[in-house]
Symmetry: C2
Subunit: 319 residues, 2 copies
């Protein structure tokens, strides 16, 4: 054990402007981010693994109604909640991912359960819910995911989305208004005392999403990736662009194959390549040396980190 | 237009031994591969795009009962057929993917329809079937996917898989026996006369798959990737390993970031990295210069290619 550990988290990126958050709400976000860091830190401090730590941190964001993951998951077009998550271990390259689960309280824990089973990496839909039940994970009714704020957001976009089928212009305005919650996602990356890294991501997807739409959060390589040889990455942003750009693995490849530093690789992908495509969002990344990057091209990203050096959680929202 | 075009296809990799195929069956496979090449070639010859060509080639394999894609899709544990597919354009990096569709005759055409819609990249489950219906794609009953051979394969594995729950040993033997059809998948990569490349992949997944299990065939970056700057890749193999290795994008990254040739990059990933993990399978790849690689670490891979230079289809099965 090298005794050094570090952890970073995000709670989504997007049009998060100072004037949009009341001081009370800002404090709630910062408290929740701090708690997530502390829960992950507890695991790392007592010698737990990076996989356990990222799961513990993401569980806090899933249990909070503030983030678009778990409890606070947005409404789909059909008024349902369909959740996605994934997790990866940088030491073994084992991975677990779930798409479109509806009854699992903590999709990140289902991902972790899948990671631990060598037979599977990626489970989806009712089958994934069934696997969760068989493995004793906590199940909830869809009502558990009801929050008034998400419901009101959905109503606003839902109305204009009906119009979308007839009038393209209307939805464009609604999407701009909905910008804040559009990129909600939570994630964590960690370095444990054994020198291993891991990443995890969880989301409720897009408000008013249709047709079983999936983003990057359940996709190993795009939303989540971890490899001790390069870095661990968790993404949040406009999923379609992150899928097409294979964002998480691209950052790892720039480090491993092109020799870029973690900072250079993150900046290249988030502030150059994604910007040129129009892909708004951000990433958090960590490497086996304990370097941390919190990088985004949007107005804000709920984020934070903690290191063993001082053990003090640091949380941020705006640029 | 540079007038040069090229196309490569695969119909799955695995334990394909000469003694397993009768001369009649071998001829059927070779005829089907040749037809797929010809259909893709027709598109390229008349100035169609690489995206159109890979779709046309994969449709032939989907319509044939010989390949584990479309018509010949294997049975899931519940006796259903759940199909996955994806497609990507190397010029625009536009992509389309579908997971767990059940009523779409040609999942690759649904992927192409999604690629053409900037709002989506990845659709899944009933919602994806619904999107197919709304977009006028040909729908079929699940019975369409019934083939006696696949049914018998399922029955064999199904029985031992029941035993799997109690006796781990049995299923291991059954899996070895089922090796041939385990990695069935079809795919194509193409270079068109405009100098653009594309890739597409389609599969029925694993025989007896459970819990909404997904492999790499619907995952952009793992099963399918295309970028004019590096290469276009379609994979077939043990999906879990291909997901964890982000195989398709890894080959592209080795070319773009490390300066490897297409051959070097394909060999590094398929014959070195995947072998070390235990990931059996293969890939086909093409670059914008018209180089083609058909690379696998299993006993055989149904495969072929055609180039504008002589216009003659070449098909192979064994090493």
């Amino acid at each position: 054990m090298n005794k050094q550990y570090a952890l970073a988290i995000h709670g989504g990126a997007g049009t998060i402007l100072r004037e949009m958050l009341t001081p009370t709400l800002e404090k709630q976000y910062k408290d929740a981010l701090t708690l997530a860091l502390q829960k992950g830190q507890e695991v790392l401090k007592r010698g737990g693994t990076a996989v356990e730590a990222v799961a513990a941190a993401v569980v806090v964001t899933e249990d909070s109604p503030l983030f678009n993951a778990g409890r606070g998951a947005v409404f789909s077009y059909e008024g349902k909640h369909e959740l996605e998550a994934s997790i990866m271990c940088g030491k073994t390259l084992e991975a677990g991912a779930v798409a479109n689960v509806r009854t699992v309280k903590n999709p990140v824990l289902l991902s972790k359960k899948i990671l631990e089973n060598p037979d599977f990496v990626y489970l989806s839909g009712d089958g994934a819910d069934k696997y969760a039940a068989l493995n004793g994970l906590e199940l909830v009714d869809q009502k558990y995911f009801y929050t008034e704020e998400r419901y009101l957001q959905w109503q606003e976009v839902r109305d204009t989305n009906r119009a979308f089928l007839d009038h393209n212009v209307h939805i464009k305005n609604a999407e701009a208004k909905a910008g804040d919650y559009k990129f909600g996602t939570a994630g964590a990356v960690a370095l444990d005392q054994y020198g291993n890294i891991a990443a995890a991501t969880s989301t409720g997807g897009l408000t008013n999403k249709k047709y079983g739409r999936l983003g990057d959060s359940s996709v190993i390589g795009s939303g989540t990736y971890a490899n001790n040889n390069s870095c661990a990455v968790s993404c949040t942003g406009y999923g379609e662009f992150f899928l097409r750009s294979v964002v998480a693995y691209d950052i790892a490849a720039l480090i491993e194959y092109k020799g870029l530093s973690l900072k250079e690789a993150a900046n290249r992908v988030v502030k150059d390549k994604l910007v040129k495509m129009g892909g708004e969002g951000g990433i958090i990344a960590i490497d086996a040396q304990g370097n941390i990057e919190l990088c985004f091209n949007s107005e804000g990203m709920y984020r934070g980190y903690v290191r063993s050096a001082d053990g003090k959680p640091n949380v941020f929202i705006y640029e």
